[in-house]
């Protein structure tokens, strides 16, 4: 072992540049690995923290479906919950907004330093008679009804820190009179961090104790507010053996069927409401992908270094075999070299990773809710994975080294293990293609079922893809050389002959180099192809109107008529929009909820004939089931409805089947509709989100179209609040339309009293809006598309940091290989110099080689990216939250070109140093050193 250690260290010392470059590249990979593990663990921790803390010690929340201002959970709902044996604790809660300020006169001495008496924050005050605090008590005690007149409260840690107050201090409710209520603080609790508490979805507060800044008893709240308690939401603790999912779906129909329907909210629902669950869902997949890439990088960097070392030391190994080492010891030598390189990489990579994580934490403040940190588990994983990858990377070089015969030590030949130029045969081609198609087959041919894990498929498919590309690379190298070397030689002013065989002449080194480089490009292409393809389904297409007018009040017929006269070139379609629950779980959302598998949908009442009629229909789209004429007939006369294509596919229903909708405000009056047809509707999700069509819950299985009058009557909606607009000719000028609209509003003030009709004197959707000012909006559909694309582009480019880092790391490996490559060809370069070729020619030859290798890497990367990215969309579709829609392959050519240019830039840059090194060595030195090649 001592001998092996001596040899390892001697070799690393002798190749200092190579050792340093390999160490930097390995450290970079480890840094990347630690970074992604840290981000992953931090984010998961963030979600775990939220999951375990958003609801405190509660398991579920019951929240009213209604969006009326005075919405509340009825006693009837509480009775249903009480009747269940699964419910251990029921704590009704009353949430209100309350402005407070700290009382400067009674602030205790120890807290006075951070005291902020000038702050008057508006906080959520939650009244509850819960015996246990929802979150841990940090100081003092939990509220209890002491039957005294004093108002006692517990505040959150965030409020305590904000105002610099604590137990024993007091809060004042500001007001015009002197008898302002005083709240005595008796304790401080620790809810989730401030970025979560107070989080809102649209205009409403999350129904969760985590939003509470102040907690008090129901009796004190009654005194404080001067009204009877209203149950805003109910928090539940279930029995330990209760399956929350099963419980939820068992009781949901009963709660939804109440006069004042209620729904369950889990911690996950709230995360989903904050649009973060989807991120969490895909994070695991991303972490695996990036982790695999980082490990592959470390693997290839070490593999290439070890391979170079073996190729260069054949005679030395033969000698060692002849005089001292067994095959096993020689293999240990190679493995040891790999481990030492990884060890050096870890020594630099771990601190560098830590620094990167700290920098990222500061740079992306708020991106990861609880900050990021390097965890011991992350370091352990990095050590274990990089160590294992170095051992695996050493297998082939070690095997090659053990093939060296002791007798080779006395050979007079210039020894090489790569003397055979293996030609790509059709058999190889077939094997390569077979391996490459594994991933598409696992994604499209035999897609995973809902909820199936995709990790196994991803690993198997990616491994097949990588191996297939490895086999295919020699052919790609020859192809690139044949097709692109001549024009490149012409561009760089080189004789074509000098570039004709530069790559294939050292085929396996080129293959290793190109494969290493292609990792970053492959990941870059994969991310963008996957992302762009995925995001396309969220961008409204030609079916969608050019603009949506969104009103903050219900429009009466006269108002609609006035609008229609606004501009003769505009075509207006008033809409009745509701978000009813489907009586039956036709999309099987109980088992596998997704963005299109929900029990709630958005139903749009529209003039059937104008919308879908055969002559100049307002909604021009592709019919996948039924026909326009038949559908219009059914919509008009038989409560027919038109559903999206994904709805039909996922539900298994056909034209003529029935759907039952539960109106949110009159749940006992279930409405029956018949499917009259199905159309391809893309981008409906963002259309409804951006135009406030989803007011009751964030969930929606899709847009379902029915006849205007039927929807209006069935869901008791007095009039439209949304109007779709198209230009009859040309395009809508959104600014002009907005101005026209405001001018019209100014001319004809809205008679709000006229429109506010309904069971409680207010229409169901008006009552929580602000009376004082108009908030009419014109939402351009193109703007929605741009917004979606901009958001996606930001995240895709943000995710592209990792591929770019991978490119940088792999270019170090390329630099390493190029240094070895030019070193091995000193004799050839010496001959060229002695024949009269200038230094400049030598520099250009080496840089051209770098560019050619970069081009090979671009081709491999793009093949990998297209295959992996496209397959990724299928896997994501089949198993993730975003599943269910029809995805079409989208190749962002410009983005890929940018990636290729960056890749070529890295490749050319990596070749500069070797080029200069060889160019500035004298011809005689080149010849004399070159002659010594292969001499150990």
């Amino acid at each position: 072992m001592k001998t092996i250690c001596l040899l390892i260290l001697a070799n690393l010392r002798a190749h200092k540049t190579r050792t340093v470059l390999t160490t930097i590249a390995t450290a970079g990979s480890i840094c990347l690995l630690i970074w992604i593990i840290s981000v992953y663990l931090s984010t998961i921790r963030s979600f775990d923290l939220y999951a375990s803390r958003a609801l405190g010690h509660y398991d579920l929340i019951v929240d009213p479906v209604s969006r009326k201002a005075d919405r509340n959970v009825d006693e009837e709902a509480i009775d249903i919950l009480r009747s269940s044996n699964d419910v251990m604790t029921i704590d009704p809660m009353w949430a209100q907004l309350l402005t407070v300020k700290p009382d400067p006169s009674i602030v205790s001495e120890e807290n006075r330093e951070g005291f902020r008496g000038d702050y008057t924050p508006e906080e959520v005050i939650i009244a509850t008679d819960a015996e246990q605090p929802p979150f841990p008590i940090l100081e003092g005690q939990w509220i209890y009804d002491d039957q005294t007149a004093a108002l006692e409260v517990v505040i959150s840690q965030q409020l305590s820190e904000l105002l610099g107050i604590g137990e024993g201090d007091q809060l004042i409710v500001p007001g015009p009179t002197d008898d302002r209520p005083i709240l005595k603080i008796i304790g401080v609790i620790e809810p989730p961090p401030a970025t979560v508490t107070g989080a809102t979805v649209g205009s409403r507060l999350l129904p969760s104790p985590s939003v509470g800044g102040i907690f008090c008893s129901m009796r004190d709240a009654t005194t404080l507010h001067g009204t009877d308690p209203v149950i805003t939401f109910v928090a539940l603790v279930l029995g330990e053996s209760t399956d929350i999912h099963e419980f939820r779906y068992r009781l949901m129909p009963q709660l939804y069927a109440l006069d004042n329907p209620a729904q369950f909210m889990t911690d996950l629902d709230m995360e989903e409401e904050m649009s973060e669950a989807a991120k969490a869902g895909s994070l695991t997949l991303q972490a695996y992908v990036v982790g695999i890439i980082a490990v592959m990088l470390a693997f290839l960097v070490i593999f290439s270094t070890l391979s170079m070392g073996v190729s260069e030391r054949v005679r030395q190994f033969a000698l060692l075999r002849a005089i001292i080492l067994t095959k096993r010891e020689l293999a240990l030598l190679i493995a040891g070299e790999g481990l030492v390189l990884v060890g050096l990489g870890l020594m630099i990579g771990i601190p560098a990773g830590w620094m990167l994580v700290q920098l990222m934490d500061r740079a992306t403040n708020g991106l990861i809710r609880h900050g990021v940190d390097v965890y011991p588990l992350g370091i352990l994983i990095a050590i274990a994975v990089s160590g294992a990858s170095s051992l695996v990377a050493g297998i082939l070089p070690a095997w090659r080294a053990t093939r060296v015969k002791p007798l080779d030590a006395v050979s007079s030949q210039n020894l090489s293990l790569h003397t055979d130029d293996r030609r790509v045969t059709y058999v190889w081609l077939c094997i390569a293609v077979s391996l490459i198609v594994i991933l598409p087959w696992l994604s499209f041919g035999d897609p995973p079922g809902p909820g199936d894990s995709v990790i196994g498929r991803l690993i198997l498919g990616s491994a097949g893809l990588a191996l297939g590309l490895l086999l295919l690379t020699p052919m790609i190298v020859r192809l690139v050389e044949r097709v692109l070397a001549p024009p490149l030689a012409w561009l760089l002013g080189l004789p074509t002959e000098l570039l004709e065989k530069q790559l294939s002449g050292q085929l396996w080194r080129t293959v290793a180099c190109a494969m290493t480089l292609s990792i970053g490009m492959g990941l870059f292409a994969g991310i963008h192809i996957w992302g762009r393809s995925m995001v396309q389904v969220f961008i409204p297409t030609s079916w969608a109107p050019e603009a949506t007018l969104v009103f903050d009040h219900t429009l009466m017929t006269e108002e609609v008529k006035r609008l229609e006269q606004l501009d003769s070139n505009l075509d207006f379609q008033p809409l009745i929009v509701e978000q009813p629950r489907l009586r039956d779980d036709v999309l099987n959302s109980a088992e596998f909820p997704s963005v299109t598998r929900q029990m709630v949908s958005v139903i749009i009442g529209i003039d059937s004939q104008l919308a879908f009629g055969e002559i100049n229909p307002f909604i021009e789209t592709e019919w996948v089931a039924g026909s326009p004429n038949d559908a219009v007939q059914r919509m008009t006369h038989d409560r027919g409805c038109v559903v999206p294509d994904h709805f039909l596919r996922q539900s298994g229903l056909t034209v003529g089947d029935e759907l039952f909708f539960v109106p949110p405000e009159s749940p006992r009056e279930v409405r029956r509709y018949t499917i009259a047809g199905a159309v391809r509707i893309q981008g409906g999700q963002w259309m409804t989100k951006s135009t406030n069509m989803r007011q009751r819950t964030h969930r929606s299985a899709g847009l379902i179209f029915a006849d205007f009058e039927h929807v209006k009557a069935d869901f008791s909606i007095p009039g439209p609040r949304h109007i779709w607009v198209n230009a009859k000719e040309g395009k809508i000028n959104i600014d002009q339309l907005t101005q026209q609209l405001h001018e019209l509003e100014a001319k004809t003030p809205i008679n709000r009293n006229e429109v506010r009709v309904g069971s409680s004197g207010k229409s169901s959707v008006d009552s929580d809006t602000d009376d004082s000012s108009s908030n009419t909006r014109v939402v351009a559909t193109s703007g929605i598309g741009s917004q979606v694309e901009r958001g996606a582009a930001f995240w895709l480019w943000f995710m592209s940091i990792i591929p770019l880092i991978a490119m940088a790391i792999s270019s170090l490996a390329m630099l390493n290989m190029f240094l070895a490559s030019v070193r091995a060809r000193r004799w050839d370069f010496g001959i060229l110099r002695s024949l009269g070729f200038t230094r400049s020619v030598l520099v250009r030859i080496v840089i051209a080689e770098g560019i050619l290798v970069g081009l090979v890497a671009c081709v491999i990367g793009c093949i990998f990216g297209i295959s992996a990215g496209w397959s990724g969309t299928a896997l994501t579709q089949a198993t993730s939250w975003f599943g269910g829609m029809t995805i079409r392959l989208t190749i962002p050519v410009l983005t890929l070109l940018i990636g290729c240019l960056v890749m070529l830039g890295f490749a050319a840059t990596a070749a500069i140093w070797p080029a200069l090194r060889i160019a500035f060595t004298s011809p005689l030195t080149l010849l004399s050193h070159g002659r010594g090649q292969g001499q150990g």
Binding site: T3, L7, L319, R321, I323, K327, A409, V410
Partner: protein, 253 residues
Amino acid sequence: MTHPPFEAIEVRKSFRQGDTTVQALRGVSLQTKPAEFLAIMGASGSGKSTLMHAMAGLTDIDSGLIRVGGQDLSELSDSKLTHFRRSHLGVVFQAFNLITTLSAEDNVRLPALGSSDLSDKVRVLFETLHLEDRRSHRPDALSGGEQQRVAIARALVTDPTLLLLDEPTGSLDSIAGQELCEILHTLSKQQNRNIVIVTHEPAVAHWADRVVVLKDGHLVGDFSTEGLDNAEILSQHYQSILQSNDSIAVAKP
């Protein structure tokens, strides 16, 4: 019972060269005496290097027997053979074959790393081989003769049963070659080393106690250098042996 340092009995070895089979050794039998300095001579292609490689266990033989210190090499697995070579055989090649990344001293220490009394032994070897001031030099900073002496020191550091040298002067100039031969002679006479040297140079063979001559895979001559006053006489004797066997070679199918 004392075993001879080296013993070859009816050793046969053939190679494939394209479609033809080359008989490199055709039943060679040879034995060395303790503390003997033996030279194996022969023209190119005579089989002398093959015999040397077989003696070092670097190549398998088709038939026959090779024993070093009584150990039949064919009984050893690849791993055991390596261990045996490390501890019982010192091998020196024509092309120096030092590990370029190690210093001269580390190269010498290499086969015996882990031995407790290595420092004294290495010091003595460097003194004996006149390399005291070259201990920390890397191979590329040494002359050819110095490199070869370092290779000999490395071969001797484990006190091998047999020191095998394959054309050790082939890459050296005449003065360096002469110095090397003197050293080998000293080692043989003063330290009683068993030395076998493969050479085609009479000037080198003249330093040996005994010379065996190989021709076309046959052992065709075996004579003592005692009484051969100089290399010229040895050369004439060697030539006469080769010529006298031409008829045999020609007569053979």
